[in-house]
Each structure stands twice: as structure tokens, then as C-alpha cells.
Amino acid sequence: MKTRWGVTAAAVLAGAVNGLFGGGGGMVLLPLLQRGGGLGDRRLFATSLAIIFPMCLVSGAVYLLQGGVSLRDAMPYLLGGLAGGAIGGLTFSRVPVTWLKAVFALFLLYGGVRYLL
């Protein structure tokens, strides 16, 4: 994905996934951009975030305007997320995340099976 159109196509795919499924664009975009190399991990992660952010902003606006969800329903999740983000940020360097990632990967597989059945 080194070429100009390669990265653009990766972003279009990520945007489509993100809008259709309400998330997960980063999980598509990051590995695709990683393949091209060139950027270090930190820079790649930060840039991915900057690419995904406007995608989530416009998709979130569409979902909100369509009335599928009210801010009131979403609020407890959002407040919990803010608290969790702060806790996670403070404890970040002290956690071995490899096995957590493995657990999460298994959870994704479980979710995949549940959605397919």
C-alpha cells in the first residue's frame, strides 16, 4: 500500500466498514497502511487516528440525525468511557497487554461465529 492510490483505497475501504458497521475502521486501515512501511508505528497510529476521526464524526452525525439513538441513551456509556479512558491512560505502561489482546482476538472470533449463526 505504498502507492498514492493504494492508501486512498485503503481509506475508502476503512470508511465503508466504519460507516456500515459503526466502527472498526481503524482495524482495517492500520494493518493496510502498515504494509507499505515507511512510517514508524507511533506515527502510523497517530495518523490513522487522524484519518478515522472525521469518519466517525460524520457517521455518528448521520446515526444521530436519523434518530436511531438519543444522546440521553448514549450518555452513560460515554461518561463511563471518559472515566475508563482516564484510568486506562494512567495505568497504560504497567499492563502486559499481549494476553489481553489474545483474549480480545478470541472474543472477536466468538462474536464472528455468533453473528454468522
Binding site: 481509506a11 459503526g22 475508563g84 497504560f92
Partner: protein, 132 residues
């Protein structure tokens, strides 16, 4: 109270995991639909909104440190956002049950690629040349 507390705690857990780099943007969505039985479209909306404050704060931080690649961003952000807009609009009109299968396939692929990456990081025998 319970109907507020459980969403709060779910958001808290997903927030912690995301900050640790584990969640990957779908963890809240999956917890909502698989564990709490929230309607798919509503869960998708909350998942999108959930991402914004944390990511926005993170972005300010990254930008200050100059970690965002301007060229790559210009090559991708506009087209990606247009695709997201179109897909989000399509998701409003599509029958949600139609999305279940593709989403399931996506989850399987994402889970497998994550496991593969984790296994790659701990190569069992070092002397061997990498297989093609």
C-alpha cells in the same frame, strides 16, 4: 439505577481497554450487542459517539508532538470520510439483519489477523530464515 449503571460500567471497561490499545474500536459494540442485547443500529451509533471524545483528546496530543503525517492524511482523509458518509447513510436504510453476515465475516477476519500478528511477535525458532 441499574439501567444506567450497567451501561456506565460497560463504557468504563471499554474505555480502559481502548486506552491500553486492546479494544480496536469494536469492543464496546460487541459488548453491547452480544452481552447486553442492545439493538444493532443503536449500538453502532453509541460506538461511533463513544470514540469521538477519547480520539479527539488523543489527536490533540499527537498533533502537539507532531506525530501526524500530513501527506498521508491528505491522501486519505477526504476519500475515506466520503466513503464513511455514504456507508453510514446506507446503513440507515438497509435491513440490519442483512449486515449480520458481513459483520460476522469481518469479525472473524479481524480476530484471525490479530491472532496471527500476536503469534508472529513471538517467533518460536529464531535461526530459521523467514518462510515466504
Amino acid at each position: 439505577m441499574k439501567e444506567l449503571l450497567i451501561p456506565f460500567l460497560t463504557g468504563l471497561g471499554a474505555g480502559v481497554l481502548s486506552a491500553w490499545g486492546v479494544g480496536g474500536g469494536t469492543i464496546l459494540l460487541l459488548c453491547m450487542t452480544l452481552l447486553l442485547g442492545v439493538d444493532q443500529r443503536q449500538a453502532q451509533a453509541v460506538n461511533l459517539l463513544f470514540f469521538l471524545p477519547a480520539a479527539g483528546a488523543g489527536l490533540l496530543f499527537h498533533r502537539k508532538k507532531g506525530e501526524i503525517d500530513g501527506l498521508l492524511w491528505r491522501q486519505t482523509a477526504l476519500a475515506g470520510t466520503a466513503a464513511a458518509l455514504a456507508a453510514a447513510a446506507a446503513a440507515q436504510f438497509l435491513d440490519v439483519s442483512l449486515l449480520r453476515r458481513p459483520f460476522g465475516v469481518y469479525l472473524l477476519l479481524a480476530g484471525l489477523s490479530m491472532l496471527r500478528k500476536l503469534l508472529k511477535k513471538t517467533p518460536p525458532d529464531r535461526g530459521k530464515p523467514p518462510e515466504k
